[in-house]
Symmetry: C2
Subunit: 213 residues, 2 copies
Amino acid sequence: MPASSPPPSPPPSPPPSTTGHAILGLLGLRSWTTYELAKQVQRSLRWFWPRAERKLYDEPKRLVSAGLAHASQESTGKRPRTVYSTTDAGRAALRDWLDEPPAPRTTEFEAMVKVFFADAGTLDQLRTTLERIATEAEERLAEVTELAEIWLAEPAFPERAHLGAIGLALVKGQEEAVLQWATWARGQVDEWAATDDPGHWDPDVVFRRLARG
Amino acid sequence: MPASSPPPSPPPSPPPSTTGHAILGLLGLRSWTTYELAKQVQRSLRWFWPRAERKLYDEPKRLVSAGLAHASQESTGKRPRTVYSTTDAGRAALRDWLDEPPAPRTTEFEAMVKVFFADAGTLDQLRTTLERIATEAEERLAEVTELAEIWLAEPAFPERAHLGAIGLALVKGQEEAVLQWATWARGQVDEWAATDDPGHWDPDVVFRRLARG
DNA sequence: TCTCTTTTACTGCCCTGTGCAGTATCTAGA
DNA sequence: TCTAGATACTGCACAGGGCAGTAAAAGAGA
């Protein structure tokens, strides 16, 4: 007897990505247009899950086709806009996703690649790179201060202040660590004779400190 | 007079990406097969510029077509292998690249997205996520210790120990910052009544600390 | 000696994600 | 009224990731 042909099932929408779940999280707070979503991701999620605006126009559509979100066509005058909201299935998916082991943290730090290969260039180039690393960290620390002040004065989601607080605290810790390192490194590099010759500067002193755990 | 047709020039190979320059940096140390390159990237560059092995088989070919690297076909028995080395143009490109302003540092930290949307789930889920963040940081700190010991005992490139030392020092600072935060956060969360109700725990205490700069 | 596992050495394919250009409309201010 | 900026998208080319697949060499153990 021949095998019966499989029943015509709707194409199984792939399980949402991290980006999908992050958007699902924002939809759990309120409804958003894609444009608002993009701005909000820049303000908050950017710190831990940076995504280009472009992507945020595609992802909600996938959520809708998976039944995890709902889209309603509205309009401002003649210009149409799409407002997305979550669904019961969306809330359930978000809840379940919290159980799954998170992907390992990854960092892209181009400036440190330049530090690592600094012996292909001059000490001045290395110092400039360290300067840029420090400046970036300082700018972000200023942003942290600004965000903390906004949370104190006019929070958009006061009922979520506790989650915002612990999140922002991590950002501050990270940026401070980078800034402290950059300041230290700047001092160390000043003792080197050249990028490929540390002179009397002894790397083993550092390695022994790092090896102590 | 009609415009003359443009001379048939070779397709301008696009300027190498960060990944390309990173490989150029490794080729500056010695010649590598792609397989060795992939392993080396996992050991060292991974910390600041993580790239999938797959990509490391494509990128050297682009460097060769841009004249920045040289490929020689060798063989181990009947199996062919490609050994890449740098060129004068490659060394010059690397040197020039060190001057260019680096891309901003970015971090993908899925676990923190789960922390940020923890109010979609339970306190147990949040505690588990914090636990996982701490464990990951501890594992990486152990790796830092291990690498420091290798640098002390049998360094592969002793003449580059100074650059390895300052690089590894940053990794340690970053991981310690995450671990300290996770420990602190675990304690704070223990005072909350639920993920969406911090009880008497006051987020403004944290925000005021963060706002002080 | 034979077998099995691990290491070496890649390629193809599909998917996610980025950056940029392009197309409109709406709003607020000079 | 004119213009700048904000809103609301789409298309396209390219970087990069993950996984499956292929295959030969080297080493380990029976």
